[in-house]
């Protein structure tokens, strides 16, 4: 048994000596004080575990000494047991009221005395443990909050690296915890236009944020490299499926805005119905989830089917997570899809809808505690999106990176069936800082040249088919059929780049296994808009310094000088 340090304060020396001997014989260390002042001084110096205090002492009495001792002890628990010969109930109660923890009446019973000392010792041990734990929790909590602040800064850099601040986007993201179960991502495509993704992870806080990190990385990385949204979603799904435990997933709505085609494609998995509002119409078009959330299906079963619809400038798309629909008022009632639809229907104009929804939800919940994140985003189709603004290429950086290089990439039929080389080509070109500044135009050139070589060359499709709406459909039906049946053919891509100082020249040559076409008139400068329009040639001409067809028309070579000299 460990020895307790016991302070005995009693002005009666006989009583004090008797009690000291008893306590000492029981294995404790004893310090004696002969009055109240001495008791306080000795306490300050020796910090005993427990104090036995006579009530009546000259000078400073026991009650006052106790008050001072308790104040010196601060938050430590130092039990004080009063020693008294009084035995009436009121006197004993007074002892406790003045700050004592217990009392012992003279003459002392040795057994009771030891039991009380032991009991109070256990209690102060417990008190000490409690204080330590409290301090530990406070320390850990401070540490955790600090870590969360740092992690949030990292998370924000990754998740909000995109273009959510574009003028065609309005959004609201209300975090429940330091982190947010909802994710909003938006990135400009290198060829103009934009990818937008709204995700709602199961749960909140850390687990949700952990899933959001790779999601944002993949989204921004792949979009910048020119991958289509389907490929991006496929990759995100696969990543989430492999890193999230079973039962955790991400409901999502993803939009591919294509201002050049005045169209948008959406993929929705596990999110509530969203609405499309026309700038000039009253009709509300509803878009519904057709897929399982991201991270549920294995890669081979994932469905990347998107729904495409025309979207003119000024048309608006509204997306939200279930937070808005499940927002509760003080009676626990949910806002619900119906109320939401009514707000949208009652808005005077499409441009008022965003504010009206916010106002209606705020009014409905009226400050009630919410148990889910509420995220809302409005995406407006705008012509301005066509001009990709890739800035940040500095003069100093422009002469760095690969300068003189060339590469050849030949794709055979079996590869052409399912593989799109354009993002990869684009990725290689984007290593040249000077080309990065014209990434958007360059992407268009490569994409056009490749689709010409593949569709008109290898697949032998006639571009003239696309001139009527019916033909357009037929063209794509034929394309699908011919891709499925494709057994032989190739596309050869050659890239050649030379750089001098802060300028350079890129030559792209594409050859295909097709029959070619009558290009002679074109090369002779008799370009006929109608005849060639299907081959996207005017578009290419506007960007390239020269364009030359060779052989039987199955080989094309374009030269691009950077920096571009055209006026903007």
């Amino acid at each position: 048994m460990t020895a307790y340090k016991v302070l005995i304060a009693d002005d009666n020396s006989v009583d004090r000596k008797v009690l000291s001997r008893v306590v000492r014989n029981q294995g404790n260390d004893v310090i004696e004080a002969t009055n109240g002042f001495e008791a306080v001084d000795i306490f300050t110096e020796h910090r005993p575990d427990i104090v036995l205090m006579d009530v009546m002492m000259p000078g400073l009495n026991g009650k006052e000494a106790t008050r001072q001792i308790k104040s010196i002890a601060e938050e430590d628990f130092i039990p004080v047991i009063f020693l008294t010969s009084l035995s009436d109930a009121q006197s004993l109660a007074d002892c406790l009221e003045s700050g004592g923890d217990d009392f012992l009446t003279k003459p002392y019973n040795h057994v009771v005395l030891q039991a009380k000392i032991d009991s109070y010792h256990r209690m102060s041990e417990m008190h000490r443990t409690l204080l330590n734990q409290r301090d530990e929790i406070a320390r850990v909590n401070r540490h955790m909050l600090q870590e969360q602040r740092v992690a949030k800064a990292v998370y924000d850099n990754v998740a909000h690296a995109g273009c959510l601040t574009s003028p065609n986007i309005r959004y609201e993201l209300s975090p429940l915890a330091v982190f947010n179960g909802d994710v909003l991502l938006a990135a400009r495509k290198p060829g103009g236009g934009m990818h937008v993704l709204l995700g709602d992870f199961t749960g909140h806080g850390l687990p949700a944020a952990i899933g959001a990190m790779p999601m944002a990385d993949i989204f921004y990385g792949m979009t910048a490299k020119g991958f289509g949204l389907r490929e991006v979603l496929r990759e995100i799904n696969q990543k989430l499926k492999s890193i999230l435990p079973v039962g955790f997933f991400c409901c999502a709505a993803a939009v591919d805005l294509a201002p050049d085609r005045q169209a948008a494609s959406v993929w929705m998995g596990g999110v509530p119905d969203c609405y499309l509002l026309r700038n000039d119409g009253e009709m509300i078009e509803t878009l519904s989830s057709r897929h399982l959330p991201l991270g549920v299906m294995s890669a081979d079963k994932f469905n990347d089917q998107m729904t495409e619809f025309p979207m003119a400038n000024g048309d608006r798309l509204f997306l939200w997570s279930d937070g808005i629909i499940e927002a509760r008022n003080s009676d626990g009632e949910m806002f619900g899809q119906e109320r939401l639809l009514n707000v949208v229907r009652d808005s005077a104009h499409a441009s008022d809808v965003y504010d009206d929804i916010q106002r209606a939800v705020d009014k409905f919940v009226d400050g009630s505690e919410q148990d889910d994140d509420t995220t809302l985003i409005e995406v407006v189709m705008a012509d301005a999106l066509r001009e990709e603004k890739e800035s940040g290429v500095t003069k100093a950086g422009i002469s760095q990176g690969p300068r003189d290089w060339s590469m050849e990439y030949r794709l055979e039929a079996s590869t052409l069936k399912s593989f799109n080389p354009v993002p990869l080509m684009n990725h290689i070109m984007m290593e040249v800082p000077g080309l990065r500044a014209i990434g958007g135009q360059l992407y268009t050139v490569v994409a056009e040249l490749f689709s010409n070589a593949f569709e008109h060359g290898v697949l032998g499709l006639q571009s003239s088919m696309k001139q009527s709406p019916d033909g357009f459909m037929e063209y794509y039906r034929q394309r699908e059929k011919r891709v499925a049946e494709l057994e032989e053919g190739f596309v050869r891509i050659n890239m050649h780049h030379t750089g001098v100082g802060d300028s350079g020249t890129l030559t792209l040559t594409l050859e295909d296994s097709g029959d070619g076409f009558d290009y002679k008139r074109h090369n002779a400068g008799e370009a006929n808009g109608n005849h060639y329009s299907g081959r996207g040639i005017p578009l290419i001409e506007s960007i390239c310094d020269s364009i030359e067809y060779r052989g039987k028309g199955n080989e094309v070579s374009v030269v691009i000088q950077w920096p571009l000299e055209q006026a903007t």
Binding site: D200, G247, F249, C251, P272, L292, V296
Partner: protein, 100 residues
């Protein structure tokens, strides 16, 4: 909220009944319900008395599906009320479960 499990069809069918709010608080009970039963081939999740379903309940259903053999599992979700059915439909869970 309460979860009850009963065996039927010669011990090859497990009926799991969830009452009240089917959310994260049912997690342990729901898991115990199917983990304690062996030799079960077919699972029926009876949501007749479930008033609400949240995303963690959807997660629990996916866990059950995984336990029951993933793509080879045979799980029916029965007696859903309109709200519950709507939540299952938004998530397109009919692609993974038989919803009746």
């Amino acid at each position: 909220m309460s979860v009850r499990a009963t065996l039927a069809g010669n011990g090859q069918e497990l009926v799991i009944q969830v009452d009240g709010r089917f959310d994260f608080s049912a997690h342990q009970e729901f898991r115990d319900a199917y983990e304690s039963a062996s030799k079960v081939r077919k699972y029926i999740v009876d949501l007749g008395s479930a008033t609400y379903l949240d995303s963690s309940a959807l997660g629990m259903l996916l866990l059950l599906r995984d336990h029951a053999g993933g793509d080879h599992s045979e799980i029916s979700i029965t007696n859903c009320n309109d709200d519950v059915r709507k939540i299952l439909a938004i998530s397109n869970f009919e692609q993974l479960f038989t919803i009746q």
